[in-house]
């Protein structure tokens, strides 16, 4: 079958209404699903006795859209949080999910020896943040070099780094940057930010 033509044997699979509604129905051997795009209400509809849609696949390389109403990307994967320098680690785990321009990252970092690594930043975000700074949260911390009663971070704009901030006493002014990472520090955190 050439592009743009439909074989006679396949006509039963495709119908076009006068209103511009296209319905695609599988051959008789598999009639339990049909897809209609768009239906009268403008929606993509999967129907039949056992309707299902396994997923929507985007290109491996994003084709960016400037349209504010267009979802143009989905990707999930892993990344490796670091503090740079000669630091060594007991655990480095990071995951990310990107939906459109919204990035969600989660990480766990256990420093063995910090060496010449930075003591106030976590580096290595999988995609650079854009358009401002974004708050992040720690769900757990332990063995900090300095005791705190509040610890958080923000994602720097146009960067792949997260800046630690903290207060060391109730009512104290927040310390930015907070140099609290050290040997044996363990932190677990997450953040959301926009990419370019």
């Amino acid at each position: 079958m050439a592009n743009g033509t439909i074989a006679a044997s396949q006509l039963e699979m495709l119908s076009l209404s006068g209103a511009g509604i296209i319905t695609i129905t599988p051959p008789a051997t598999n009639t339990n699903r049909a897809i209609t795009l768009p239906d009268a209400a403008g929606a993509l509809v999967v129907s039949g006795t056992t309707p299902s849609l396994n997923g929507i696949t985007f290109p491996a390389t994003q084709v960016p859209s400037a349209d504010a109403n267009t979802l143009d990307d989905y990707e999930e994967g892993t990344w490796t949080p670091v503090v740079g320098g000669t630091a060594t680690y007991t655990a480095q785990v990071g995951t990310y999910t990107k939906v459109g321009r919204l990035m969600t990252v989660r990480f766990r970092l256990v420093i063995n020896s910090i060496g010449t690594g930075t003591n106030n930043q976590i580096q290595g975000l999988p995609i650079a943040a854009s358009g401002g700074v974004y708050p992040g949260n720690f769900g757990y911390w332990g063995s900090l070099a300095i005791s705190v009663n509040y610890l958080a971070f923000y994602v720097n704009t146009d960067s792949t780094t997260m800046q630690l901030v903290a207060t060391t006493a109730s009512g104290a002014t927040i310390t930015v940057p907070f140099a609290g990472l050290g040997n044996s520090t363990e932190i677990v955190g997450s953040a959301q930010y926009y990419t370019a």
């Binding site: 892993t78 990344w79 740079g84 320098g85 290595g124 146009d158 960067s159 792949t160 370019a196």
Partner: protein
Amino acid sequence: MALTETKVIDQITVTENGIVLYREATRILKDGDQIAQTYHRTSLTPAQDLTGVPANVVAICNAAWTAEVVAAYQAQVAMP
């Protein structure tokens, strides 16, 4: 039936301020056909140590990280 695993750097991006982002795709092939794929992303900031970084990424970093780019990035980082 043969299952094989391949790893490739399938994407390298250089941001405006010189950060190099690359994506490693791990592909599982069954008799030559891809049946699964996972991604691992890494970011490199200008002048970062490149020990252990794949050679093709190192080449991109070395081309992108001119003295001007490194200086501009370090100035950006130094801003509060």
